[in-house]
């Protein structure tokens, strides 16, 4: 977890030093490809986990309810907090 953050900060330092190199402004595309690879690997680990696959129907529904509820609860609170504390009246964005 902290390795991951450390690597990102190394990237920030490298990016800052090389910020005048124009190719770095197009980093969005390789980032997308790496996200695809990561999602593929996440899928592969779910597909090969018998603990998840075998109990999918019985436990999955309860898990789905919890996941939907907590995600929805968080984004609703996010909307409230954003609306009252962060939304800029006019100005940029």
């Amino acid at each position: 977890m902290f390795t991951v953050i450390g690597i990102m900060f190394a990237g920030i330092a490298a990016g800052y030093l090389l910020r005048s190199v124009s190719i770095l402004q197009k980093i969005g595309k390789p980032i997308s490809y790496t996200i695809f690879a990561l999602l593929f690997l996440l899928g592969a680990s779910v597909g090969t986990n018998p603990q998840i696959i075998n109990n999918l129907s019985t436990l999955g529904l309860q898990a789905l309810l919890i996941a939907v509820a907590t995600t929805l609860g968080s984004v609703c609170m996010a909307k409230i907090v954003y609306h009252f504390f962060f939304e800029k009246k006019g100005g940029e964005k």
Binding site: L41, A63, M77
Partner: protein, 208 residues
Amino acid sequence: MIGSIIVVGFFILGCLLGWAGLLPDWIMDADLSMYVLYALMFQVGLSIGSDKKLKDILRSIRPKLLLVPLATISGSLLFAALISLVISRWSVFDCLALGSGFAYYSLSSILITQLKEPSLGIQIASELGTIALIANILREIFALLGAPIFLKYFGRLAPICAGGATTMDTTLPIITRYCGNDLVFVSIFHGILVDFSVPFLVSFFCQL
């Protein structure tokens, strides 16, 4: 939208190939996905570091940013309590413990299994642990795939709050991609605080 369909496609392809046993062992190596994540984080770092607006971003960190993790935690717990009315199998505190994983599936599932074993027995405790695992994996998947939808209907903080404890690593790239580089530090700050809350909240609700 098309980008998020492609992402789902890659996830399902991985699921199917893994389930069918068509993937070579080196792909299933847990280290591989870790290195891919490292590569991703380095690229995200590069994009932040080379961003011409980096100084403006750093200047934008304020105490009111504490409201973002608070929104995540309060929203998740409130709705976990509500949904427990539908799930008769488990108590409201069990559901709150499940919801306190905030997508941190590895830690929350292990904690719940261990902490619930004395009171529920090993069989039922590991059932609850498996639900924690699936629910929090699903939440991470929702955060990864739903980011553009949350952004559109719930505002710029919603992809961050949906991501829970993962917004400083696994979901950070997708948040940067959709919300923009200026929210990167909000996302990391949020991820760190929510992450630290997981062991405390999960063990608190397991004892009730």
